[in-house]
């Protein structure tokens, strides 16, 4: 089994590791780079707990090889926050009680981040569709939808404020 040098930029920081062909991206992130905010929940691309951004695209990192991500910009939950610790989406999850056990939350946040980047004001149906690859067993989703809406509203209000 061949070894490969892989360079990934995770949350703005470049890392190079020599990895096996078969190393999964999620294990590179969790085990090699010690970023344990990204979780593993199902192994078969159903639950989305392992969702990270690969070049801005939300991706289930348990079903991507680390070698496939060579050269990519990776975003994980650890990279979301600004200096004050929580961005608008994270704040939305806290304000709207969009999380309980917290295990699916990082994946939800990464999917939500990509959704809001593409669609600043998504409808409830669009949010539900966007997170349909992320399973949550605790919240019943209603408050996750609200959390994304909270972030959209807050970002819009902040943007309006800046324009003034």
């Amino acid at each position: 089994m061949a070894r490969h040098n892989v360079t990934v930029t995770v949350n703005g920081e470049a890392h190079t590791r020599e990895v096996d062909s078969r190393l999964l991206l999620v294990h590179l992130i969790r085990d090699e780079l010690a970023l344990t905010g990204t979780h593993i929940g199902c192994d078969t691309t159903h639950c989305g707990a392992c969702t990270v951004l690969v070049d801005g695209v939300p991706t289930k990192s348990c079903t991507v090889l680390a070698v496939q991500a060579d050269g990519a910009e990776i975003g994980t939950v650890e990279g979301l926050a600004g200096a004050d610790g929580m961005n608008a989406l994270q704040e939305g999850f806290m304000q709207e009680h969009g999380l309980q056990c917290g295990f699916c939350t990082p994946g939800m946040l990464m999917t939500g981040t990509a959704l809001l980047a593409a669609n600043a004001n998504p409808s409830e149906a669009e949010i539900r569709e966007a997170i349909s690859g992320n399973l949550c067993r605790c919240t019943g989703y209603v408050n996750i939808v609200k959390a994304v809406q909270y972030a959209a509203a807050k970002t819009a209000a902040d943007g309006a404020g800046e324009d003034n």
């Binding site: 990204t38 929940g41 067993r137 019943g140």
Partner: protein, 788 residues
Amino acid sequence: MAPRTSAKICGMGHSMKRKEDPRFLQGKGNYIDDFTRPGMLWLDIVRSPIAYGKIVNIDTSKALEIDGVLAVLTGKDLEAYNLHWMPTLMSDTQMVLPTDTVMYQAQEVAGVIATSRYAAADGVAAVEVEYEAMTPVMDPFKALEDDAPVLRTDKEGQEDNLIWHWEAGDKEATDKIFDEADVVVREKMHVPRIHVASIETCGCLADFNPVEGHLTVYMTTQAPHAIRTVLALVAGHVGLSEEKIRVVSPDIGGGFGGKVPVYPGYVIAIAASVVLGKPVKWIEDRMENLQADSFARDYHMDAEVAADASGKIRALRIKTLADHGYADAQAAPSKFPAGLFSICTGSYDMENAYAEVDAVYTNKPPGGVAYRCSFRVTEAVHCLERIVDTLAHKVGKDPAQLREENFIPKEAFPYHSPLGWEYDSGDYQAAMDKAKEMIGYDDLRREQAEKRERGELMGIGVCSFTEVLGAGPSKDFDILGIKMFDSAEVRVHPTGKAIARFGTKSQGQGHETTYAQIIAEELGLPAAHVQVEEGDTDTAPYGLGTYASRSTPTAGAAGVMAARQIREKAAKIAAHLLEVGEEDLEWEPGTFSVKGAPDKSVSIQDCAFAAYTNLPEGMEPGMEATNYYDPPNLTFPFGTYICVVDIDRGTGEVSVRRFVAVDDCGNIINPMIVQGQIHGGLTQGLGPALYEEMTYDEDGNNLAGSFMDYLVPTAVETPAWETGHTVTPSPHHPLGAKGVGESATVGAPPAIANAVVDALAHLGVTHMEIPIRPDRVWGVLNARGVAK
């Protein structure tokens, strides 16, 4: 009810934002797979592909040739230490690793220890096990037939596959009512085997220190203290006595009952750590989790209701067959082998009732744990709420009206049920009225009538459940003999900040916030200043853990009692500081003041400081208290749920258009968290009602062993839940609170099933088995000639 405390103190009734959230939102939670130790090894498990058979040979040689594989543990290896069997929480026995026979598909057969996850997995693939397959017993009814093979030949005196027979109620009196009743309705129903499927699977990191002979186990357990005791019982004979074991339950990614039992993987990891003297980590993958971990439900019920001609319920009779798999590994109180199934008379006043349950062994994984419910209350509620609808249709009454005419009236509380429970409090009509108003019940019935004319299928389902939560009073409740009290230890520091430790363990319920609010309510310290800790057996007081919605009724109450002890001491200190008698003091949360002179006051923080600096003569310094709370009774939350469904006549698909849930859980500590618990519970009711089922084929194959086939609802299938509440305080809880975490899981499935049956009732349909899959619905439509 307006909160008694200010927003700064944030006691009961405030929707305080959760203290645990920032770490989860920043990816800083500490879940089991996030732990590592220097020199840590990995355990991965070889599992049986067959459901029943003899192990002829286990060849580990190829596995041991793999780079990084250090050892393969088999049942024979554990047998040398007498660790190959362990007790279940129901005093049955189950294998850790088999020495000769496998009893279900995915049973643990050997453990591979390696230096990495990847090497361990390769080792598992390389272990060659030769089996002599036998025909498995998959049908619990066949398991009781005379010619069925006896599965548990290891148990002395076991001559058939019956585990136990249990009954409650007066059979003779009940039969007599049935004999003379105007109306009798009967339904046979199956509440199928399901799985909690928490998004985090199970796992542990066993770290044995050979120098000190001390074992630390980080593990995903809902009951760390009880687990430590079980581990000491299992391994005490090899030197792991209870003071040498520390169990740490870190952040848990969902439990719902599935993280109560001791799974073989934990014991194998511990054995490996002890044998090798290294930390050993074991993390299940999803297929292992779904196929081998404890299931829930699997009750086959034959229920009958006797009523008078007007639909007044007179008696209930249920005969049940419970499929427990190859071992009875429930986590139920020992006096209650069928859990709290005898709550099956529910919200209705009746003359008598009789329930019996036979538990049987089959070639399925062991279990019988809860799936977000208090020991079989879900089965009981489903059975009753379904058959009450059958009765309503039989006597030609609206199902809501029939319920109202049979409710236990609010004046009747505390109410003694025919099967022996004392319900604490209730106002069932109030919850029904609110639910009907929220959903616009009468308008919906009109809409339904119009649609029926046009051939469209729309149904309205009602469920008025009574829950039974908070096990429990020690006179009745124990697990393996350990009384089901729970505990709190509260310590206020000199600067007026506090730490509070509990015997329970949150898995997402928000204990760090709710418990802080309870302490805030009682002591007037800001909840933000109360640090809550759980899950470390070295530091937290002994408790039975979190399941069965018992945390607030038991440990929460313990927190109240401990805080009140502290407040009593604080009152003495305040009197000393204010130089008045204790009887001259008035208490407003956070402040003692002199009666009639409100400007003469000291804060709770002042008292705390004084407890370490300026004590009354003869008083013991410090400000802390511990309480082990033995509740006087369970709590009985209730609610009415109403659901509207539309059915596609072409495909049989059911869509939940609206769902209103009105819950009453007594006084509410954190409304935001309570609503969140209900949303989650409803979704875990939707799953079993329409999607989730753990099925097996006749050859013993598990057909729902991954999320490809175990269908957990997504955001698209889940409706926008509408919630409301009424408040009927519990007289048996110091805060008037009741448990709530599981009400919705209990109440939702019959509401949905009733709605589907209601949509089809005019076609003569009286029952649909859950999960109500499209093919099942279509089969009914097709048989009645209405499929498009």
